[in-house]
């Protein structure tokens, strides 16, 4: 596990006990064919261009709505890869090790895999850069108004749902 600081304003975690052996979960992450099956939600089709699970390796995926025309999805760099234990990648550097300006936001994602009596203890920690959109949000000066709009919207949606 990581001892790095977790910032609740910027970071997120997902923890899941998966009822499958650790090697199976690891293979779903590291085998391109399997990876493509879960990385993006259907009906979007994921194509794995490069998945080099080693430090300095590439993680490049493309996506398609129709299965014919593909557009870039992720161009990231694997920072760490400990066999069956941990994968860390970032999109702040691209697969050519060039500093990137990823959209919507720069992140470092850390996946850990551990044995558990029911299968695999799978954890994800994603650390984000400070999003440009937030800065712009404040810049535009409507953060307060925005909160009230969101509340109004929620009320409208709930009313509609209740009909």
């Amino acid at each position: 596990m990581s001892s790095r600081r977790f910032d609740p304003e910027l970071d997120l975690t997902v923890e899941r006990i998966i009822r499958a052996p650790r090697a199976t979960v690891w293979r779903a992450w590291t085998d391109p064919e399997r990876f493509a099956q879960w990385w993006l939600p259907a009906p979007t089709v994921c194509r794995v261009e490069r998945l080099e699970v080693r430090p300095g390796g590439a993680l490049v995926t493309q996506m398609s709505d129709d299965g014919a025309r593909f557009v870039p999805h992720l161009d990231a760099l694997i920072l760490l890869a400990d066999e069956l234990e941990r994968i860390v990648f970032t999109n702040a550097l691209d697969s050519n090790w060039r500093p990137a300006d990823p959209q919507p936001i720069a992140m470092t994602a850390e996946m850990t895999f551990a044995d558990h009596s029911d299968g695999t203890d799978y954890r994800v920690v994603v650390r984000h850069g400070d999003p440009a959109s937030r800065a712009r949000h404040a810049e535009l000066g409507f953060a307060d108004g925005w909160g009230s709009v969101t509340k109004q919207l929620a009320a409208v949606a709930e009313a509609e749902a209740a009909r």
Binding site: E9, L10, L12, V14, R16, I18, R19, A20, T24, V25, A28, W29, R34, Q37, W38, W39, P41, V71, P72, H73, L74, P102, Q103, P104, I105, M107, A109, Y122, V124, V126, H128, P131, S133, R134, R136, H137, L140, F142, G145, S148, V149, T150, Q152, L153, V156, A157
Partner: protein, 111 residues
């Protein structure tokens, strides 16, 4: 993600104007006709319509014309693009983990 970025850009452009933000706030209370919205604004109707079209072309609102009345409706999904970026990222990773779990726990997938 590039597409997502373009969407966010469009939403921010549409919202980077006080008249358009006022329209959004007003529509948050429910669908409203263009005529009614325009009476709250000091500008001419043609100028006001430009703002409505900007909001519409960026998907923040939809307009529906019934007879002589054009009614504006807020597009809530579009607003969610900038509502809470961290919640959005969390949802993406939760869903991703759901799919990973499904893949490795469905026997047929593990041939």
């Amino acid at each position: 993600m590039a597409q997502y970025s373009a969407e966010v850009d469009g939403v921010f452009v549409a919202l980077a104007d006080p008249t358009r933000r006022e329209v959004i706030r007003r529509l948050g209370r429910g669908p409203t006709s263009v005529g009614e919205l325009a009476t709250k604004s000091p500008m001419t109707l043609p100028s006001f319509m430009k703002h409505i079209r900007t909001l519409e072309s960026n998907g923040l609102i939809r307009t529906v014309k019934v007879g002589r009345v054009r009614t504006c409706v807020l597009n809530r999904e579009r607003l969610a693009v900038v509502d809470d970026w961290l919640a959005e990222q969390r949802r993406i990773w939760e869903d991703r983990t759901d799919r990973l779990e499904r893949l490795v726990t469905e026997p047929l997938e593990e041939s």
